[in-house]
């Protein structure tokens, strides 16, 4: 870039630097398409499921999917009770995405808020937040989840909130650390000195500056939450049958791994592709959001 501007310095100098308008990398296109597809499936789940997820078809139990010699009546086959795997997959995607996105956002919001509170007030507030962070990090999450679900019962909203508690301490640490360093000696101190309100400092300056780090850790947390949901569902603490989720399908399909691998394969493939897409997209977003990397 410097060479290019040097050669044409007098003519080019008065123009603002042109941003690179490169096309999207193919992997990012794939990730975008896949996530759009998943969101579309989740939104339209009620209209595109061919069967009800609880409709039993006992005559065609464990029917193979169409591409493994089955019929097009059940394109992805059926499970041990003759329920349509495609229909269950569609509904599972909706539930799992709701839980994963909801919990990832929730934990990011809680964590960043706590981190900023600690960084802004320092002193006792900071000590309290850090104590909570240490408590959260030291506590096995399963025990917390078990006790909450045992005492408060089980509902989807509660489950999302519970998973939202998972990992907030990481965001809180990141947000606090970066905000403190920005405030001690740097742009946040400078903006404060200009007379900005805390809302402006944190919302307009600190948050955009640490967004790249937060986005990366959100894309890392997203697969974790999906897997955690699977684990909890498998233990019978998460999404309860007859309701279904991706983790749930994998968990229950495990018993038929040798006889009917399709029950487990399609939700596993969706988990892998979705988490991969989210990671790819997060990586790309981080680079896009940073003007120094453009």
């Amino acid at each position: 870039m410097s060479d290019a501007t040097m050669n044409t310095a007098p003519a080019q100098a008065v123009l603002p630097p042109r941003r690179k308008q490169a096309g999207l990398p193919p992997l990012v296109v794939f990730a975008l398409v896949w996530i759009a597809l998943m969101l579309g499936v989740a939104l339209l789940a009620e209209w595109i499921t061919p069967y009800s997820i609880t409709a039993l078809d006992l005559r065609s139990r464990l029917a193979p999917p169409a591409f493994m010699g089955g019929t097009w009546a059940h394109p992805l086959g059926t499970d041990e009770l003759g329920r349509d795997v495609l229909s269950r997959l569609i509904v599972s995607i909706r539930i799992s995405l709701l839980i994963a996105f909801g919990a990832a956002l929730l934990s990011a919001v809680i964590g960043v808020t706590m981190g900023f509170l600690a960084a802004h007030f320092r002193g006792l507030v900071e000590q309290a937040v850090l104590a909570l962070v240490d408590f959260q990090a030291a506590m096995p999450f399963l025990i917390l989840a078990l006790s909450v679900l045992a005492f408060l019962g089980n509902s989807l909203a509660l489950f999302v909130c519970l998973l939202g508690l998972h990992g907030w301490e990481r965001y809180a640490r990141i947000a606090r650390g970066l905000a403190v360093s920005a405030g001690a000696q740097g742009y946040a101190a400078a903006v404060k000195q200009l007379g900005a309100t805390p809302w402006r400092i944190y919302g307009h300056h600190v948050l955009p500056n640490i967004a790249s780090t937060l986005i990366v850790s959100m894309t890392l947390a997203f697969p974790e939450i999906i897997l955690l949901e699977s684990g909890l569902s498998f233990l019978g603490l998460g999404v309860q049958p007859p309701q279904t989720s991706l983790g749930n399908m994998v968990g229950y399909g495990r018993e038929y791994l040798t006889r009917a691998p399709w029950i487990l394969l399609s939700p596993s493939a969706v988990i892998v592709l979705t988490t991969l897409s989210v990671s790819l997209l997060g990586d790309w977003l981080r680079d896009r959001l940073d003007p120094t990397l453009r």
Partner: protein, 333 residues
């Protein structure tokens, strides 16, 4: 004309703990600093690192509150940091930083950052105003679309200066504004500061360890040592013929082609604000100290020639001694 800024007896203490269970040690970063600054004048503040120059700057800006003493700006005491009143006052007093890249938000264009003070203080902005402001600090209007990392060090410092000048402040505290810049750029930035002062009548508190720069910029110079002002006066007088032994040593450290080998090399350790010597803080290193220096703190008072000096010897109260042996330092600590 009344003083724009008046600081009286500023004391700033910090608590420092050695280790987990160590006794908290009181560090006196500032120990009774008084200064006045008139409209459109420049006060230079010099001293070695750790002597409290920057703390003084932060206190007079109201970024921190002094433990003792008070600061009045335009005859009003400074409001507490963080209050709405304090935020409003920011448009009257601004700061220029040592590290311009760190002081700028690297995600916002120069134009957006320069216009930010207007937004904060509820004023309408237009691209023309931004362009005019950038031109006034020697940047091109098209720099508004650049990001901080795309500018050179000198240009960044100009941008920081433009942001500080946006609200037309009466006081500009420049905390080592040129020490991160190349020598050639230093001169440009100093000239720019002088021009801006002549144009806008802004008062400058120019903090630096560069005596050359301070001499060029200032109408008055204050030499600080370990949280106190030890000598204050006209820059030519103070920097040509310093009265305080510390100022003398400081001035002799300026490289000079004709004065080879006559540098005063101070003995002893650099000052530690956590273990302040009794009496004159400088006495353990002072080549002319005598017994009284270790016992009695010299006050900053005017000499016959109008210069303020804090030294028993310089005031002629006692004859010049031959320095005190080192162990007094340990006893005092």
């Amino acid at each position: 004309m009344s003083a724009l800024l008046k600081a009286e007896g500023l004391v700033r203490r910090y608590e420092m703990r050695r280790g987990w269970f160590g006794r908290p040690v009181e560090v006196r970063a500032l120990d009774g600093v008084s200064l006045t600054l008139e409209h459109g004048r420049t006060l230079g503040l010099v001293g070695e690192s750790g002597c409290g120059k920057s703390t003084t700057g932060r206190l007079v800006l109201g970024l921190e509150t002094p433990d003792e003493g008070r600061v009045t700006f335009e005859e009003q005491p400074l409001p507490a940091p963080g209050t709405a009143e304090w935020r409003r006052l920011r448009s009257r007093m601004q700061m220029v930083y040592q590290d311009p890249l760190g002081a700028m938000d690297r995600r916002l264009s120069i134009g957006a950052q320069v216009a930010e003070p207007w937004k904060i203080h509820g004023r309408q902005t237009s691209p023309e105003q931004v362009a005019a402001l950038l031109r006034s600090v020697g940047l091109r209007p098209d720099h508004a679309a650049h990001y901080p990392h795309e500018l050179s060090g000198g240009q960044r410092q100009r941008a920081v200066l433009a942001r500080a000048l946006a609200t037309d402040p009466a006081l500009l505290v420049c905390d080592e504004p040129i020490s991160a810049l190349d020598v050639s750029i230093q001169a440009q930035v100093m000239n720019l500061l002088s021009e801006i002062q002549a144009e806008r009548g802004v008062a400058l508190l120019f903090i630096s360890h560069d005596l050359r720069a301070v001499r060029q910029m200032s109408h008055r110079v204050a030499v600080m040592y370990l949280g106190r002002i030890v000598e204050e006066g006209e820059p030519d007088a103070v920097l040509h013929d310093p009265a305080h032994p510390y100022a003398r040593a400081l001035v002799s450290a300026i490289p000079h082609p004709q004065r080879r080998g006559r540098r005063i090399v101070l003995q002893g350790d650099p000052p530690n604000p956590a273990a302040r010597p009794a009496g004159c803080a400088f006495h353990p290193r002072c080549p002319v100290a005598s017994a009284r220096c270790a016992a009695e703190i010299p006050v900053l008072k005017p000499r016959a020639d109008g210069r303020l000096v804090a030294c028993h010897v310089a005031h002629g109260e006692i004859p010049a001694g031959s320095g005190l042996p080192a162990p007094t330092l340990a006893k005092a600590a």
